[in-house]
Each structure stands twice: as structure tokens, then as C-alpha cells.
């Protein structure tokens, strides 16, 4: 772990988030820094706001009208190295641009009802890539990066619905990776999978960190400690503690963190 070179890529500052028609904010002034090419794990009891925070980071909440944000979620612009507040983005194509940079993988695999090839090509086509040879190349590369090329190469034209759950999840990762995102957000990506598929996905995620920054929500303490460089513990909409994974798991500063990690509640 090379703490010295850690470089912030996203910064959440005093973030309040309120769901439509909710009486009070779900996120209550969160502050969090996400470091480039590191894996940050988010842990905490059910309902504490992990998904809510994660989904604010690529503004997927905006799919539903009436969500309120206050504060800042900054993303570093890799061209000029300046932090830019993503909450200032208003137009649909600005948000599209954001989501191409900050991708997301969900708990349940979400293959589209089309062929394996088209699943991966879909985001690329949305981006305006039309050339068949470029698509072919990038689809193959993405499938290789997501460690599913071997299983998929003979059946690229077959429906993605015919893959197993774990394969579907890796296909979804391939689909996101194909867009060359800067950050990938994972919301409990293995909780619907068997242990072997889980192992494959974990291995894949640690490989990915060479090229992208990863934020992963998990309920699995072993997964968080195995996989992540940093860990953040959330409770009732607050970020209670953030730090090096080793530190959080071995000598947390907050009593609450310790109680949660040692399984005393949650």
C-alpha cells in the first residue's frame, strides 16, 4: 500500500441528500475522499445510507424526480487536474458524460435482453462509436479485462440471458469497463452470487484497480478487509470513520466502528 502517492479523485463535501417527499435528509453532511486507483470499501448496517451515497456519486438518483442535494461532490477533471463539482451539472448530456466517467455495477446482475456482444457494445455505441472494427476490438478487450472472454468468445452472438449469474455480473463489469471509466461504483456486487463466482469477481476487482478507482459497498467484512485499501464506516446517514482498511479493522478510533466490525450490532 503506497499511501504517500495516494491522489484524491473524488471528494464528497458536507453532502446532504434528501429523497423525494422524505421529511428529512438521508445523508447528513457526509465528507469523504476517494483516492485514485485505490479500492474504497463502504460498510455499515442496513439502511445507513451506503447505497444512497454511492448513487449520489454518479447522480443516478436523478433518474427519479424530486431528489435534493446540498453540498459538493467533486470529481477531478483529468485534463486540467482541477476538482469540479458534479452537483453543478444540470443538462442531461452533462450527466451522461459524468456517468461515462463514473460507472456503476448493481447487486443483481443486469444484462440487457440482447446478445453478449451487444451488451458490451451498447455503451460504446451510445458514446457514438460506430466503426465495426473498433467496436470488435474494444468489446474483446473489455471482456478480457472482466475475465469472461474465455467463456464468452464462442457465443458472442448468443443472448446474455443464457449466462450464469456470476458470468452475467462479469459481463456487466465488462460493459462498464469498456467505457474506460475513471471510477467504478459497486453496490454489493457479489451478494447475489455463490462463493466461487464471488471469488472470481473479487479477483477481478483487485485487478481493475490498476486502471480505475473502485468504490464498493459490502456487507461482508472479510471482503472489505481483503479487497480494499480504505474503508469508510457509515451509521444512520453519517460517516463515522474513514481510514486505511488495516487501521479501521485493527484499531478503529470510534467505539461504534469497533462494535460494528466485531459484530456487536448490525
Amino acid at each position: 500500500m503506497t499511501k504517500e502517492t495516494a491522489n484524491p479523485i473524488m471528494e464528497v463535501k458536507d453532502l446532504f441528500f434528501t429523497y423525494p417527499n422524505a421529511p428529512e435528509p438521508t445523508l447528513k453532511g457526509n465528507n469523504l475522499t476517494i483516492y485514485e486507483n485505490k479500492i474504497t470499501a463502504m460498510i455499515g448496517p442496513s439502511g445507513c445510507g451506503k447505497s444512497t451515497l454511492l448513487r449520489a456519486m454518479n447522480r443516478i438518483h436523478d433518474l427519479y424526480a424530486g431528489c435534493k442535494y446540498e453540498g459538493e461532490i467533486n470529481l477531478r477533471n483529468l485534463e486540467n487536474n482541477k476538482m469540479e463539482n458534479t452537483l453543478n451539472l444540470k443538462k442531461e448530456n452533462q450527466l451522461i458524460g459524468l456517468r461515462q466517467k463514473v460507472g456503476m455495477i448493481f447487486q443483481k446482475p443486469t444484462p440487457f435482453p440482447m446478445s453478449i456482444y451487444d451488451n458490451v457494445a451498447y455503451g460504446l455505441r451510445l458514446k457514438g462509436i460506430k466503426s465495426k472494427s473498433e467496436l470488435d476490438g474494444r468489446v474483446e478487450k473489455a471482456l478480457k479485462e472482466a475475465a469472461i472472454w474465455k467463456e464468452a468468445k464462442e457465443r458472442l452472438g448468443h443472448s446474455a440471458m443464457g449466462l450464469s449469474g456470476g458470468q452475467q455480473q462479469r459481463l456487466c463489469i465488462a460493459r462498464s469497463v469498456a467505457l474506460k471509466p475513471e471510477v467504478l461504483l459497486f453496490d454489493e456486487p457479489t451478494s447475489a452470487l455463490d462463493p466461487i463466482s464471488t471469488g472470481a469477481i473479487e479477483e477481478l476487482i483487485s485487478e481493475l484497480k490498476k486502471d480505475v478507482t473502485v468504490v464498493i459497498v459490502t456487507h461482508n467484512m472479510q471482503q472489505a478487509s481483503r479487497l480494499s485499501d480504505y474503508t469508510t464506516f457509515m451509521y444512520l446517514g453519517d460517516i463515522i470513520e474513514f481510514g486505511n482498511t488495516e487501521k479501521i479493522f485493527l484499531s478503529p478510533e470510534q467505539k461504534l466502528t469497533e462494535d460494528y466490525i466485531t459484530g456487536r450490532f448490525g
Binding site: I60, I96, R99, G103, F106, Q107, T110, F112, P113, G123
Partner: protein, 269 residues
């Protein structure tokens, strides 16, 4: 009383009811098949009504039904998409959804009378266009309802995954969500078609009937269903035989479309 005996009585009663129901159904189908087939000749298909055949009736019925489909499918599917994907929980959405549900069970004669007032009376003549419009109005709520319900079955994660890949909402709706619901939506369209292809009431006051072959929808227009209704009341044997033949053919068509509808769904789920 002993519970086992009660159980047996109820079982016996429900079995009996089932047999009565199925018995009548078979009786109808058997009579229809017997009388229908014995009345069918080659000339039934090649002659028009004036010459004792149903050629013009079949063509007329399908023309009106297909035109109705061409109008009702895009309108209905788009309305269903609006309700489910864009309507949200607004009061207006609820009102439209409920009205459409009510329309599904509106008596078809009422729709016929409504179209009569708008498209027949002002023009002074029964016409095929009016018949088509009446059929389209009957199809619309069925298509809206199934589209709406089938889209509701598509998990929201699929929409979110599309958005997370950088899609705009309308692209995700059209290219992914609608595709995921394709089978159900298609079935709804087929079933709505099967529903209107056998309707008499909406045509009775709109297209009325025509003995001759015609493609001109601005005048009285031939249809199987209205002709069956008329023929069955005529005193002569030949007319009634033709009515049986037409009824049998109509039933076969409706059955066939329903079977196709079921086959399509079964294969995909």
C-alpha cells in the same frame, strides 16, 4: 358435520360445475364445427355475399381490423410507455390509467353509438372508416393496459444500468426496457386483435354492411360479424347455412390468433 364429507360434497359440486361449463363449450364448438363445415364449399371463399359467399366479408373485416391495429398499436404502446415511464405518481397518470381500465370493459355497443354520432351522422352514410375507428377505440385500452403492466414487470435496475452506462432516458426506454417487455406487449397486441376481429356491436352502426366487394372505406363496408348477425335472421336455408359457415370460420380465426398469442408467451417465459 364431518369435515371429510363436506370436502367430498364440495369436490363433487365443483367437478359437476366444471363439467357443465365444459359441456356447453363443447356443445357450441361441436355444433359450430358440424354445421359450419357441412355448409362450407369452395364457392364460400370465392364468392361475395351477393352470390352466397364471404370473400368480400373476410376482406372487409380484415381491412378494418388491420387499419384499426395500425392506428391503435403505436398510440396504445406510446400511451402505455408514458403512463409507466414518464407519468410517475402524478394524479393525471392515475386518472388516465383508471379511465383506460374502465374503457376496457366499456360495452362495445356504446363505442359503436359514440362513433356513429361523430363519424356517421355528420357524413350521412355508414362508412368503413367509422368502423375502423370504433375497433381502434376498442383496442386502445387493452394495448395501453398490457403495455403499462408489462413495463412494470421490468426491474428498475435494468433502467438504472442503462442510465449508468451513459444512456438518455428515452433511449433506455425504447432500446432496453421496451425490448425486455417485448413478448408481453406483443401478446397484448395479439389479444386485442383477437378481441376486435370478432366484434359486431361497434360495426353495426358504423360500417353497417355491404353485399358487394369494395375497397372504398368511405361507404358502407362489408364485415363477417355484421353479416352473420343479418344472415341468421333471414328465413331462407341458404342464408342460415352461410351464417354457420361464417361463424365457424370466424371462430377458427379468433382461436388461431389466441393460440399464437399463447404460444408466443409460453416460448419466452
Amino acid at each position: 358435520m364431518n369435515r371429510l364429507i363436506l370436502n367430498k360434497i364440495i369436490l363433487a359440486l365443483s367437478t359437476l360445475s366444471a363439467f357443465v361449463g365444459i359441456g356447453f363449450l363443447f356443445w357450441i364448438l361441436a355444433t359450430l364445427t358440424y354445421k359450419g363445415i357441412s355448409s362450407i364449399q369452395l364457392s364460400t371463399f370465392t364468392n361475395d355475399l351477393v352470390e352466397g359467399g364471404i370473400r368480400n366479408l373476410l376482406v372487409g373485416q380484415f381491412m378494418m381490423a388491420l387499419l384499426a391495429t395500425v392506428v391503435a398499436v403505436p398510440l396504445g404502446v406510446m400511451a402505455g410507455i408514458y403512463l409507466r415511464e414518464y407519468g410517475g405518481e402524478k394524479r393525471m397518470t392515475m386518472v388516465i390509467r383508471n379511465l383506460s381500465d374502465i374503457m376496457t370493459s366499456a360495452p362495445s355497443i356504446v363505442i359503436g353509438v359514440f362513433v356513429f354520432a361523430f363519424l356517421v351522422e355528420p357524413f350521412g352514410t355508414f362508412n368503413g372508416w367509422a368502423g375502423s375507428v370504433a375497433l381502434a377505440i376498442m383496442m386502445l385500452p387493452i394495448i395501453i393496459g398490457t403495455t403499462d403492466n408489462m413495463l412494470a414487470l421490468v426491474p428498475k435496475e435494468l433502467r438504472e444500468a442503462g442510465i449508468a452506462l451513459g444512456g438518455s432516458k428515452h433511449k433506455i426506454v425504447l432500446q432496453i426496457v421496451l425490448k425486455a417487455a417485448k413478448v408481453g406487449v406483443t401478446t397484448g397486441i395479439l389479444l386485442s386483435f383477437a378481441r376486435i376481429i370478432g366484434e359486431t356491436a361497434p360495426l353495426l352502426f358504423t360500417s353497417a354492411n355491404n353485399q358487394f366487394f369494395t375497397m372504398d372505406m368511405s361507404g358502407q363496408f362489408p364485415s363477417l360479424t355484421v353479416s352473420i348477425y343479418n344472415l341468421a335472421t333471414y328465413p331462407d336455408e341458404a342464408s342460415r347455412e352461410l351464417a354457420w359457415a361464417a361463424s365457424f370460420i370466424l371462430t377458427a380465426i379468433v382461436l388461431f390468433i389466441n393460440l399464437v398469442g399463447r404460444f408466443v408467451t409460453r416460448n419466452k417465459h
